[in-house]
């Protein structure tokens, strides 16, 4: 799976989990900050991780916490590494 495909599926997850900013999510870039641009909290971050696990069929490491990802690009890189 290419990085772009992962990114598109990730956007799909973000739309599903946050219906209030559909348009904003389509325009997102990899450099978007989870905390400042998307307004994520530690809880919403973990909620996204759960949705990613179900979508991609991967399991995040136990020690992964809300503070481990700064941007969407970090999340994509992690998924890429897990799928490799």
């Amino acid at each position: 799976m290419t990085r772009q495909e992962i990114f598109n599926r990730l956007k799909g997850i973000l739309v599903l989990t946050d219906d209030s900013s559909r348009q904003g999510i389509d325009d997102l870039e990899e450099s978007a900050s989870l905390m400042t641009d998307l307004g994520f909290s530690s809880v919403t971050m973990l909620y996204m991780v759960i949705a990613i696990e179900e979508e991609f069929g991967i399991r995040f490491d136990d020690n992964i916490g809300a503070a481990d990802f700064e941007t969407l690009g970090d999340v994509i890189s992690y998924i890429e590494k897990k799928l490799a």
Binding site: L16, S41, V43, Y47, D62, I64, G65
Partner: protein, 222 residues
């Protein structure tokens, strides 16, 4: 959620030895000194909690876990507590008391998995969603939304409980037990981020409602 057959926690296990010993030996003194009195939000709230559930309560003092254990005395509580307690000398005590450590600054997947595993096994996970001791304030503080995620992952309902702040340790303990809230019944299995925040707000309102029951004149209480 209610229609599914949910697992029940084990009746006897070596891991419960310390917890059960303390609970049994402290029962009589606690009943005599604290003289607990239970109130219920509705007749449905009187039904005993079976299977996995998240129990939430207001947090006004250090002894709240003890009061909460007394409020729902017939079940073992797995309290969610800060990981710093597990780094202290008393870690053995917290572990024996079935506490689940969480990093409050960086809530991790391991904590969430530990909590949801307990819930799926039919245990009761108890926590204080205000996230800190709220002093002797009568008003309940804002709730954090982590409990909603725990309940969703553990496929368990949330039971709100109000513990009335006491003027003295030996004053009578009063608890109000609320009806269980099934989040998936309200928002479906995958609520949005916004809805998770809404559930936290809704539960805070329910907690305020439980507090109001104790403020009613005696005839109006159940």
């Amino acid at each position: 959620m209610d229609t599914e057959k949910r697992p029940k926690a084990k009746l006897i296990s070596f891991r419960y030895l310390v917890y059960d010993f303390v609970k049994i030996t402290a029962a009589l003194p606690a009943l005599l000194v604290l003289r607990p009195r239970w109130y219920y939000e509705s007749p449905a709230a009187k039904k005993r909690i079976r299977g996995g559930a998240v129990v939430i309560s207001n947090h006004y003092g250090f002894f709240d876990p003890m009061y909460l254990m007394l409020a729902i005395w017939y079940r073992r509580h797995h309290f969610v507590c800060g990981k710093e307690f597990f780094e202290s000398r008393a870690r053995w005590w917290f572990k024996s008391f079935l506490c689940i450590p969480v990093d409050r600054q960086n809530f991790s997947m391991s904590s969430l998995r530990a909590i949801s595993d307990e819930l799926k096994q039919g245990s009761l996970v108890s926590l204080f969603p205000e996230g800190h001791i709220n002093g002797r304030e009568e008003n309940v503080g804002a709730f954090k939304s982590g409990m909603v995620l725990m309940a969703l992952q553990g496929k368990a309902p949330i039971v709100p409980v109000y513990v009335q702040p006491k003027k003295h340790f030996y004053s009578r303990s009063r608890f109000v037990i609320g009806e269980a809230v099934d989040i998936t019944g309200i928002y479906g299995p995958r609520p949005t981020f916004t809805q998770i925040g809404e559930v936290a707000g809704l539960l805070k309102e329910r907690e305020d409602g439980l507090r109001a029951i104790l403020e009613k004149p005696k005839g109006g209480r159940r």
